[in-house]
């Protein structure tokens, strides 16, 4: 008697999920599609070309470096391309310009050099599996040290010139219009493609470092938020100049949620980084008033003139103006950096959050979170040693 049952499931002959290292990184790429798309819309074709330049230069350098010794073969295209995309998202679109910079540099060489540096760092750090420091962070911070001014964003496309506009054809819109109307509803009056303005991160860091020179000799925190900062929705959508991938906070969050949904990142890390950083921003001393000199206060919430609404609005601006959400979702969760043990990840994320708040308030809004993450990642191997798994049985 032949008795056979048809069974629909488990037909795959291999006892393996089929997901390879290349697919692992390509799934990450799908998460990055959201900030990438937002960046290309906000900064136009120059953004697309810049990211392409970083990716191509990384690929070519990897091709060369893969020929060099056994360590060269450890450098994988899939990992390199993913990291190149991340690096591209952290750069401003105006780098793709033929005009010389303030010190006579050629900005368009920066993305190409960045891609090459990234590949070289990957090789130096040992390639796939050996890296414990994020090559993108080192490359970016090195770029900041070498070309700090070139990495400042200055303009963003007008909403009716999305993607097709040239981000370098920019003009300065009326200041009152910028303050009152959000970018999404602002009427475009000139024939230029982009709006030039100071980035929110520059305004914030000047204030929190106490370097702001108020025009009338007095500037309170409320005054800063009311008169100097753009509408918060500009920062959420990306209507203020910034790096390609980190400007649109909403796109970054959607991309991060996608990564969580696919199980590629641990939800605790971004949650803790952002939560701790937000709390630290409310606690750490900030200037509540800048007159002849800045008056600093811990717990700005408890200062009578500030109160909850202003302190929380300030923390919101700090969170949105810098790359903190991008760092929390796309970099802090990187396998090369975060600890393996679950409990260790919580501490790592908390440390990263505190450092990010400190460095963002007192060093730089633009690259403070990157530096914070680099410092926190140095703790990861130690945390992995301290926190061994707790087996269930």
């Amino acid at each position: 008697m032949t008795q056979a049952l048809q069974r629909p499931a488990l037909l795959a002959p291999l006892p393996h999920s089929g997901v390879t290292v290349a697919e692992f990184y390509s799934m990450h790429f799908l998460g990055a599609v959201f900030p990438l798309t937002a960046g290309m819309l906000l900064y136009g074709w120059r953004a697309a070309l810049l990211i392409g330049a970083v990716i191509i230069s990384t690929s070519v350098t990897i091709f060369v470096w893969r020929q060099i010794g056994p360590r060269g073969r450890q450098v994988r295209y899939s990992q390199g391309l993913w990291l190149a995309l991340l690096l591209g998202l952290m750069l401003p679109a105006q780098l793709l310009s033929a005009a010389r910079g303030p010190s006579g540099e050629l900005p368009w060489l920066v993305p190409i050099g960045a891609g090459m540096m990234l590949a070289i760092f990957l090789w130096l750090l040992g390639g796939l599996g050996a890296v414990r420091i994020h090559p993108v962070l080192i490359t970016y911070l090195l770029l900041v040290a070498l070309f700090g001014d070139l990495l400042l964003s200055r303009s963003v496309l007008s909403r009716d010139r999305l993607f097709f506009g040239d981000v370098l054809r920019s003009g300065t819109p009326d200041r009152s219009m910028v303050r009152e109307d959000p970018w999404i509803s602002r009427k475009h009056t000139s024939d230029l493609d982009a709006e030039r303005s100071e980035s929110a991160s520059d305004v914030l860091i000047r204030y929190t470092m106490g370097r702001e020179k108020p025009p009338r000799g007095y500037l309170s925190l409320q005054g800063l938020l009311r008169d100097e900062m753009p509408p918060l929705e500009d920062l959420i959508l990306g209507g203020r100049p910034g790096p390609i991938g980190t400007s649109s906070v909403i796109a970054v969050i959607v991309g991060g949620l996608f990564l969580m949904y696919r199980g590629l990142i641990d939800f605790r890390i971004p949650l803790i980084v952002i939560g701790v950083m937000y709390t630290a921003l409310l606690i750490l001393p900030i200037p509540t008033v800048i007159a002849e000199r800045a008056q600093w206060h811990w717990f700005a919430i408890r200062v009578h003139e500030i109160g909850w609404p202003t302190a929380i609005t300030f923390a919101n601006y700090e969170m949105m103006a810098g790359p903190a959400p991008f760092v929390a979702f796309f970099l802090a969760t990187a396998p090369v950096m975060r600890p393996m043990a679950r409990r260790a990840r919580g501490i790592y994320a908390a440390v990263a959050g505190i450092l990010a708040a400190v460095l963002q308030l007192y060093v730089s809004v633009g690259y403070g979170p990157y530096l914070a993450l680099l410092l926190a990642s140095l703790l990861a191997p130690t945390l992995d040693t301290w926190f061994r798994p707790r087996p269930l049985v």
């Binding site: 390879t20 393996m340 049985v393």
Partner: protein, 441 residues
């Protein structure tokens, strides 16, 4: 329904429970033995009886593979041609009794253990730890729960559920009698909550009049593992290698309960075992009752499944428990998967994705254990949770780098076992245990 497999011409009846280096005293070659009679001279109390699955003739000593790496002594036995007698093992007994006959009810627990052993009842597989070792352990410490594990490792190949559905009275009798013998206050049948209504009704009706209780559970892999099941049912920790009685529980699966139930009710020896085969190449599943000692090659040939160029897995492919055509059927793994040969993959370096950590059902760090295996560092492996690993294979399944994580665990455990095992006995001692009636080699 389970179909009866044809008896192969020759079977290799495994002799289970013999210590390393010991050989059984096998009856002389050429001796005709009838069905259910022992093939070895009086076994020691620790050794299981090897019984003739049908009428036939002893060929001589041999060896049988339970898995691709586990070899035991065996008796080669030629089965007489013609229909096998006493095929009740493959069929359903009409209105079976629900308790052992009155004449044997006053038999002590140790007497029942001897009886089970003499009737060749044994089970030692992933879902049902060594039955006789558990029963001996039950003599030493109190048991409060008997658990019959009807959860199938792969719900799509429901061997345990089918055994319980086809022979509910025998399974219930096995569980209820064990509960009564051990004095356990609770007897539970752990079943998948997704079993169909008819199976549910069958089990419920079989349970009527007994103290056995149905416990529906979500059957997601690898919940059928005794450690996880015990954690789920009674929140007691059971480390791999430990026997459930150490935590006050006797655990067996439906196939083991069936073999024991038949012994209790009808004094029937365990001469066949239910077997499920899934052919991943054609997508077909086969359910058979197979003589103990039949080689898998013969069983698969009987059901027209080609073994050449294929790879056989026991339990579930995830566990990567490899078999070959020479492995024999018995009280070991009862679900067999046939798949195409897996092409060799060159593993990448660990990218620290931590998928193995996230997927691990017992919260250990498989990548760390592999690192410890590469460094040959047992202390590091201990810190990463080696002792808790249940070898479910999920880590190796999800690893994007194709790292041999499960192999790392097994390598470490093998080396630890080897370090503990004393060197083999001298050959001279083996000679003294040889059966004088056997021809010289």
């Amino acid at each position: 329904m389970f179909g009866a497999a044809n008896f192969p011409r020759r079977v290799w009846v495994p002799c289970i429970g013999y210590p390393h280096g010991e050989t059984p005293l096998i009856k002389p070659a050429g001796l005709a033995v009838s069905r259910g009679q022992p093939l070895v001279y009086r076994p020691s109390p620790q050794w299981h009886a090897a019984l003739a699955p049908a009428n036939g003739v002893i060929v001589g000593p041999g060896s049988a593979w339970l898995t691709a790496t586990h070899e035991v002594p065996a008796v080669a036995f030629d089965v007489d041609p013609g229909p096998a007698e006493g095929s009740s093992t493959t069929g359903v007994v009409a209105n079976p009794p629900s308790a052992p006959p009155a004449s044997r009810r006053d038999l002590p627990f140790s007497g029942w253990i001897d009886r089970l052993r003499n009737l060749g009842v044994w089970a030692d597989r992933w879902t049902s730890p060594d039955l006789l070792a558990q029963l001996h352990a039950c003599l030493r410490r109190p048991i409060d729960t008997v658990v019959c594990n009807i959860l199938d490792v792969d719900p799509a190949l429901p061997l345990q559920a089918m055994v319980a559905g086809q022979w509910p009275a025998e399974v219930m009798a096995g569980v209820a009698t064990f509960a009564s013998l051990t004095g356990a206050g609770r007897a539970w049948l752990a079943v998948s909550s997704s079993i169909d209504e008819s199976a549910w009704t069958t089990l419920r009706s079989a349970l009527s009049g007994t103290d056995v209780r149905l416990v529906p559970l979500r059957n997601d892999f690898p919940r059928a593992n005794p450690g996880l099941l015990m954690r789920e049912l009674s929140d007691r920790p059971l480390r791999p290698g430990q026997l459930p009685p150490e935590q006050g529980v006797l655990m067996l699966d439906a196939a083991a309960a069936l073999a024991a139930g038949r012994c209790f009710l009808h004094d029937e020896p365990m001469l066949t075992a239910p077997l499920a085969v899934f052919d991943q190449i054609t997508g077909r599943a086969y359910f058979r009752t197979v003589p103990v000692g039949a080689k898998l090659r013969d069983v698969l040939t009987d059901i027209d499944v080609e073994t050449f160029g294929a790879r056989l897995f026991a339990g579930t492919p995830l566990r990567q428990e490899l078999l070959n055509g020479d492995c024999v059927v018995g009280g070991g793994e009862l679900t067999i998967y046939r798949s195409t040969r897996i092409p060799d993959t060159n593993p990448d370096s660990c990218i620290r994705c931590a998928w193995c950590v996230e997927a691990c059902p017992v919260n250990i760090q498989p990548a760390g254990i592999l690192e410890a295996a590469q460094r040959e560092d047992p202390q590091l492996a201990h810190e990463y949770g080696l002792e808790a690993c249940i070898e479910c294979g999920i880590c190796a399944y999800v690893c994007p780098s194709h790292l041999p994580l499960l192999e790392g665990v097994r390598t470490l455990r093998r080396s630890q076992r080897n370090a503990r095992t004393p060197p083999p006995e001298k050959d001279a001692r083996k000679e003294t245990r040889r059966n004088p009636e056997l021809p010289e080699p």
